[in-house]
Amino acid sequence: MTDEKIKTKFCYKTASEMRRALLNKEISAKEIVDDSYKRIEEVDNTLKAFICLTKQSAYKTAEEVDKKLGNKEKLPPLAGIPIAIKDNMCLKGFPTTAASKILANFVPPYNATVVKKLEENLIPIIGKANMDEFAMGSSNENSSYHIARNPWNTNSVPGGSSGGSAIAVCSGESVISLGSDTGGSIRLPASFCGVVGLKPTYGRVSRYGLIAFASSLDQIGPFGRCVEDVALALQAISGHDPNDSTSINQAVPDYTAALKEDIKGLRIGVITEMLGEGVNPEVKQAINNSIKVFEDLGAKIEEISIPHTKYAISTYYVVAMAEASSNLARFDGVKFGYRNPDADNLLDMYTKTRAEGFGEEVKRRIMLGTYALSSGYYDAYYKKAQQVRSLIKKDFDKAFEQVDLLLSPVCPTTAFDIGSKTEDPLGMYLMDICTLMANLAGLPGISLPCGFDSKKLPIGLQMLGPVLSEELLLRASYNFEQATDFHTKKPEITLLE
């Protein structure tokens, strides 16, 4: 499908363009939501960005926006702008599955804090986005419900684990979306789908009502087609929450206030370990071109070493799997979710329920995590990984004494074919090499479109900053975006018959 054939008129507008149209009465909030659902009808049978649509919720919010517009009341910045949320965030009264069979019939009795904030900001939630089961995966192939497809090439993966959130924004089904990032799960799909994705500082956004994967690494963040939309979405969801004891109790700055200021004299460090062996030459070329863009914008570029990069994957996966094995112990068939109906004693009920309810990758991680925490192996794996984690954080502390931001690819490759890595779990883990250290050290990171490979698949640029440097990160990103045109390209979606 080409751009001309897109029947819906609004689907690729930015949030600010839509707001202008809303305030000028060119369109109503209801019509904007209609438009999103029309686009979903056109493309989602192929792309499968959604596990469930939440029309009742979306139209209720849109109605409220239209009422306020009619009364000439003031509206929050993103009022009436459609958003998709990853299906691991609790939306009261609607199924929340985390793409797992074990939660097939779970309907949360409460709202996640981010959902509460979206509602306060009158942002219509149009649906629950597809993902890897319990956010475990880098390709979205671990969804128990649908195969998600990359809009740029429907035989390629969209990246994971927040694949649906990235697809929805890339294909014009939604304007913005929320994902969660434990080791790259926002940045990687943003990179593979050619959109902007931000993982905030650990604790900037409340995790209350986010189905936990690895609690010391999980963080919710926004996707958008441009940096400004991402900044606005971050504004709407950030802030301290008494219901999340790890949330940061510090004022939230105005993320759009300084967005357009220049970056002359900004010191950017290129991470040498992430441009070495194993990085696809086309990715390397796109990153080198991006470095030139930053130089032209007046930034000072230098090379920076993060010496423990080599150990990042081992460190991350030991920690993440250990935390996952503990967090997922709650899915036992007792209080909610699936239960094996035939077991006649409690222990059998547990083991059969979990065997049938969890998918292969989730079981793999639960068992490896259990193993790493078990008697005799704790010191060799879990404690050791936590010690190396300290060393990785020190590497970054040192780097940020020399530079303001760090730069690297998001992933050593572009999107790969569906099914090409499913039999090689370790090979899949290696995809996360550039992204997961930000989670280990709690740092904010962003993925920006920075080019295309010869197969016309998007390439992503990653920028990392010190703790709570989102303002600077967004400003540098905005400057880069305005100097390039990659974010304006739209995919030609080949619909499946």
Binding site: Y202, Y371, L391, Y429
Partner: protein, 92 residues
């Protein structure tokens, strides 16, 4: 190298029933993955504090005041089996 027996033990601790085919597959995969993880042994971590959290985490207390929390009937709607306001499970 990890043995089938060790995989069975981890599955038992994790309350997961595995079929023979899964046991074999996981044994092979875990050996490869753990072998990779063993590179951590190269790192000198003498006198390095383990880091469990990014920021110092302390207990966060609220005032000891009663608040409306969850509503029992709402919670029980998700129960696979319920009786008289309790979760019902097979015999222990």
């Amino acid at each position: 190298m990890i043995t089938v027996k060790e995989v069975e033990h981890a599955a038992k601790l994790a309350r997961l029933e595995l079929c023979e085919e899964e046991k074999e597959k996981y044994t092979e995969q875990f050996s490869k993955i753990l072998d990779y993880f063993n590179q951590l042994k190269e790192v000198n971590t003498e006198d390095v504090e383990p880091m469990a959290h990014v920021f110092p985490v302390k207990n966060v207390f609220r005032d000891d005041k009663a608040e409306v929390s969850s509503i029992r009937t709402e919670i029980l709607k998700n129960a696979p089996l319920e009786e008289d306001g309790f979760f019902k499970v097979p015999k222990i």
